[in-house]
Symmetry: C2
Subunit: 449 residues, 2 copies
């Protein structure tokens, strides 16, 4: 026991005791937004509790690299405790928030309650399958480490099964990969699968040629990266073509069954036989958004995001803030700010500072997003970048992308390791983290065979 | 399709076709022994098929580092296809061998059959809980990547739960770790948990002091590392003591229940309340050993290992070889050769060469193990080494251990990454791969929160 800490310690199954001093700030979620809020409170006279049901901060923009064997989970994760070790007014607790009691000002955990003076909700978004939740099993999305290792296993297993396939039709279905949704995640994922097939695995098989793999990227809008400017969509499309990715725009998914994906284009309905289907099409606010709506009457947008006031607070609840992907922050075009890391980090930092200012009795202002540009990467040395006045594509954009992503990775070891993995991958086109993990079928208890 | 390969391609659910030339060598298992056998056949006029139910070779001696957050799974794994890419007479198939038909000379897969002219069994060993298979759930062993990430999650979750524990008794049970078995794996694991608690996590918690963790290493024999010379056991014991590991020798486990471990020592029976119990006490031959015994009358030793002739073949079946941990190779002391990587590699290489020699009509000799020494590591800069004439301990042994282990890691990227992780860990005592993975309890479908 550390001295003096006992009075702040709390029950796992009873009420979690109040902080020992100052207003109690509870932050739910240790992603970009929650972590930025916690850090912005470093020198404030508050007692911060950061709740997350994971023990690590995840650098989601590189998750597609884990899903395609380029990086290991730990390379893009940093233990929350280690990140916040030196910030003595923060305690980190591994806990799942299941409900909120805004009258009593308590968050309700699976195994206890915790009072707050200020609540910052930053629990992000999950996958959204619109009217087809049954598609999830067949077409997993990419939000967590477990999603990424699952997708990695599916992609690699498809090639393994193709090597052993009995006939050509089956083999072609095994070598067909459909990625649904051509936003940044879908584009990056399709590009990385293209690279894997064309370069990394090229000489690894005896019966199949991985370059024969068909990768189809489906998009409902009329171009890839629809939220970017159209020149960049064009550049992305040609980079994808160089990696052998077929792009099908103006295309909607009608059905996904065990063997095929049914598509509707302006030209009619078509089918693709594909063993592997990946979902990058829709997100919806995490469950706590709906909880908040029920408990406070908060308004949600069509994606389950919580509509916030211009200081990121919940209208009518100046003690509750919603930041990051879970927040719908109004914009002129009604789309709301995009669900990207820079918005989340800026909102988190803003709310941290606002809490500090309020405690100090200083005047506060509304949140303003400073758009520093958009980036997406396609394959190993191609990317598109939109920095407002500057827009560029290809190798220069890729170097910029690499630099920015590595700069923002939390933790020194990660940065060096990721850089080495990248340098090695760039030189050899190798992807070292190509593991199919999880209990294989037919594995007995106890003994390996 | 690669040209000319089709005739060697095989059904997933029908008979797998014979090789296109020369004797068909089927190797089951891509560990140290199987991989060494495949490589030794590189220039032989044989058609080698390497079957493994994993798609990677695992460097098991470093698995305890994954279990304690020091390394990532991919750091100690190499995709089998990548390792054997340039060896054109080998094909790698992801498959599970369920049975053997020695009359027809076929291995039976979950989904097909495959004929062999020569069979090399190298499927290793699994955990063995003696008369208590029910202990496995409570006290997992360390043989696979999944085992390692499971153990990592248990250790880290114990500290997380301790931070939130309601009372001191519960907290102390959560901070108690029992490691059963003080062979190299148990010693390394206990030492690494000691380091994690004493150094890595030291400042990470607010309510608990991880240095208060109790780590107990249980051994039935009268000293740790009973297969090593006694001076080295002494050195290991004092290194463990410096890391705060309590060693209890001459101690047997009587019972393991949800809360406690019951121990019997010459002094009587005692109990330890411990949330985390790890098993490093017993192994037994993988299921294929028993299959072979049933199908051929092969003799097994008390640990389910297959007794082999002095050329590693199965007596009465000169076309079947058993190598690595699964083989019982008789020694003067009746213990058999130890289940360590050097024995496995030497046997694999020996059998590969023997097959080549037989094909060439050359005379063959029996296998002789060249003991180049034993090593075990205790914590971050201490190890014990027994190189026959030379025996040393402490820092020098640790450097030697590090050098040998990294030298034997397959794949350039792994080596560099592991070296950097180690250098970083050595300087900072950090362990970057401290992730609790797997679906957390209470996680909803679709949306994250």
């Amino acid at each position: 026991m550390r001295e003096g800490a006992e009075d702040r310690v709390t029950g796992t199954s009873s009420e979690i005791s109040p902080a020992s001093y100052g207003p109690r700030v509870v932050i739910a979620g240790g992603g970009f937004a929650g972590l930025a809020a916690a850090r912005a409170l470093a020198r404030a006279a508050v007692d911060v509790t950061l709740l997350d049901r994971r023990n690590y901060h995840l650098f989601q923009p590189l998750l597609y690299q884990v899903a395609t064997g380029g990086l290991s989970p730990a390379d893009i994760s940093a233990p929350l405790r280690a990140v916040l070790r030196r910030q003595h007014n923060v305690r980190v607790l591994l806990a799942t928030v299941v409900d909120i009691d805004p009258q009593k000002r308590q968050v309700i955990l699976e195994d206890g309650r915790m009072p707050y003076d200020v609540l910052v909700l930053a629990t992000g978004v999950g996958h959204h399958y619109f009217a087809h939740p049954e598609w999830e099993r067949r077409a997993p999305g990419l939000k967590t480490i477990e999603d990424a290792t699952e997708i990695r296993g599916r992609i690699l297993r498809a090639f393994e099964n193709a090597e052993r396939a009995a006939d050509g039709t089956e083999r072609q279905a095994l070598l067909t990969f459909v990625v649904i949704g051509a936003g940044p995640t879908g584009v990056e994922l399709a590009g990385a699968v293209g690279e894997l097939a064309r370069f990394t695995l090229r000489r690894d098989f005896r019966a199949v040629d991985p370059r024969a793999a068909r990768i189809v990227l489906i998009e409902g809008a009329d171009r890839v990266l629809p939220s970017y400017r159209s020149e960049l969509s064009e550049a992305a499309r040609s980079s994808l073509a160089r990696l052998g990715v077929e792009v099908s725009t103006d295309t909607r998914v009608e059905a996904i069954d065990e063997r095929r994906v049914t598509l509707r284009t302006p030209a009619g309905v078509s089918e693709i036989e594909a063993a592997t289907v990946l979902w990058a099409a829709g997100v919806k606010g995490s469950r706590l958004g709906a909880v908040l709506a029920r408990r406070t009457g908060a308004e949600l947008d069509g994606h389950g995001r919580v509509k916030v006031a211009n200081d990121c607070s919940l209208p009518g609840h100046e003690e509750i803030f919603v930041v990051g992907d879970l927040a719908y922050f109004a914009t002129a075009d009604d789309e709301g700010l995009p669900g990207i890391a820079p918005v989340a980090m800026q909102q988190g930092r803003f709310v941290g500072k606002l809490i500090r200012d309020r405690l100090a009795g200083r005047r506060t202002r509304g949140f303003r997003y400073r758009n520093r540009g958009s980036l997406a990467v396609i394959g190993r040395a191609a990317a598109v970048a939109d920095l407002g006045a500057l827009r560029f594509t290809g190798y220069a954009a890729w170097i910029l992308w690499l630099f920015i992503h590595i700069m923002y990775l939390v933790g020194f070891a990660n940065r060096v390791l990721v850089l080495i993995q990248w340098a090695h991958g760039y030189l050899t086109r190798g992807r070292g983290a190509r593991l199919i993990t999880g209990r294989p079928a037919g594995m007995g208890e106890g003994a390996d065979d």
